[in-house]
Structures are given as structure tokens and as C-alpha cells.
């Protein structure tokens, strides 16, 4: 199993541009999550999904959108990039039991908005 994979690894965006961060897991996990990690800070939950077709907001959803059309994929969309969205983005998944279970993290996407 590849686990959780994320693309791209690194991206520079100009203010106002849009992009999609890709996340795929091959562990057949129901739960998937998007976090952002700012320097010296913990992980903040952006959005999560409990299964295909179901998504919900986390702590910091503003400026982001998600979709979950399949069990495997959980893309994160930035519509109008802002400097405040400069961060490292981690996708994670967990088996049934959700947050009571181990979260498996992807390698992350480093995003710089200039």
C-alpha cells in the first residue's frame, strides 16, 4: 500500500490564483481530513469527510472547498489564494471509528502565496 499520497509537493501561487491540492489513499478508509500547519503551530483542521459524498467544515474552512466523490480521493480547492494561506497542508485518513483511530498522514504540500 502506498498509504496517503499528496500532490504537488511544493507550489508557489500568486495572490488571486486558484489551485487544487490532490490527496489519495489506498487503505479503503472512510474518514479523510485536511489540515494546515503554520510554523510553530499545531495542526488545524480545515475540512473532513466521513465517506464518499459527505464533507463537513473543520476549524478553519474559510477560503477552501472540498469534494469527496470517491472513497480514495479528497481534493482541497483554493479559489482565490491569499498570503494567509501560505502553509504546509497535510491530508490524513483513518479507518472506521474516525478520530478515535490512528490518523495516517500524507507527506504534505508546501504552499507559498506571494
Amino acid at each position: 500500500n502506498a498509504g496517503v499520497t499528496q500532490t504537488p509537493k511544493f507550489r508557489i501561487l500568486k495572490i488571486g490564483q486558484s489551485m487544487t491540492l490532490q490527496c489519495t489513499q489506498d487503505m479503503n478508509h472512510n474518514y479523510m481530513y485536511w489540515y494546515r500547519q503554520d510554523p510553530g503551530m499545531g495542526l488545524k483542521l480545515i475540512y473532513y469527510s466521513v465517506g464518499a459524498g459527505i464533507t463537513d467544515k473543520g476549524e478553519v474552512p474559510n477560503g477552501y472547498n472540498v469534494s469527496r466523490s470517491t472513497t480514495e480521493d479528497f481534493p482541497l480547492r483554493l479559489e482565490l489564494a491569499a498570503p494567509s494561506q501560505t502553509s504546509v497542508y497535510f491530508c490524513a485518513s483513518s479507518p472506521p471509528g474516525g478520530r478515535r483511530e490512528t490518523q495516517y498522514f500524507g507527506p504534505g504540500t508546501r504552499l507559498l502565496v506571494l
Binding site: G98, R100, Q103, F105, G106
Partner: protein, 113 residues
């Protein structure tokens, strides 16, 4: 605001010294998870504690969950350079029928060989 406080934020030790990081919550937690993130890497699950007063060991690492299930600690005995990284706790809170996993800000450990 931050609901799970983790201290210290940074810790620098000489190789062979012990290291402890503490995690405190203002509310009771259903469980607590610990993760390690190597520099430039992603968080990797270490352990989960569920029961009040639970103690678990992984080689040189000892994890404790407080009796009130509001605090936890991770202790590393005789640190090695391979222990370098940031250690995060994540507390599971149940609120209004929903569960929320809240991460601490982490303790960054550096080890001087």
C-alpha cells in the same frame, strides 16, 4: 482558541539526557494520541491512550494519561539523535454529540550529539 496546551514549546538536550513533554486540556478527553514529526516530514502516529491513569511504554518512550483524563505526558529516557523532531499530542473531545480531535502546538526536540 487553543484547547490543548503543550509544554515546553522547545527543548534542547544533550544526547543521553531525558526529555519530557506535557499536554494539558481544560476539559476531559476521551482519548489522547501522540504523534512524532521529523524535520521536513509528516506526523506519524506513536500511540493512543484511552483509560484513566494508563501508562504505555515503547522501548525508551513512556506515555501516561492522567487520572482525570485531562493531561498526558511523553517521557523519553536517554535521548538519541534519532529522537529529534516535534512531538504532538492530540486530544479527543466529545462535545454536543460530536467528536473533535484537537492538536497541541507540539514540542520541538533537538539533541546535541
Amino acid at each position: 482558541g487553543q484547547q490543548v496546551m503543550q509544554i515546553p514549546q522547545y527543548q534542547h538536550v544533550q544526547e543521553g539526557e531525558d526529555f519530557t513533554t506535557y499536554c494539558n486540556s481544560s476539559t476531559t478527553l476521551s482519548n489522547i494520541q501522540w504523534y512524532k514529526q521529523r524535520p521536513g516530514g509528516h506526523p506519524v502516529f506513536l500511540i493512543q491512550l484511552v483509560k484513566s491513569g494508563e501508562v504505555k511504554k515503547q522501548k525508551r518512550l513512556t506515555f501516561q494519561f492522567g487520572e482525570a483524563k485531562k493531561n498526558s505526558s511523553l517521557h523519553i529516557t536517554a535521548t538519541q539523535t534519532t529522537d529529534v523532531g516535534t512531538y504532538f499530542c492530540a486530544g479527543l473531545r466529545t462535545q454536543g454529540g460530536s467528536e473533535k480531535l484537537v492538536f497541541g502546538k507540539g514540542t520541538k526536540l533537538t539533541v546535541n550529539p
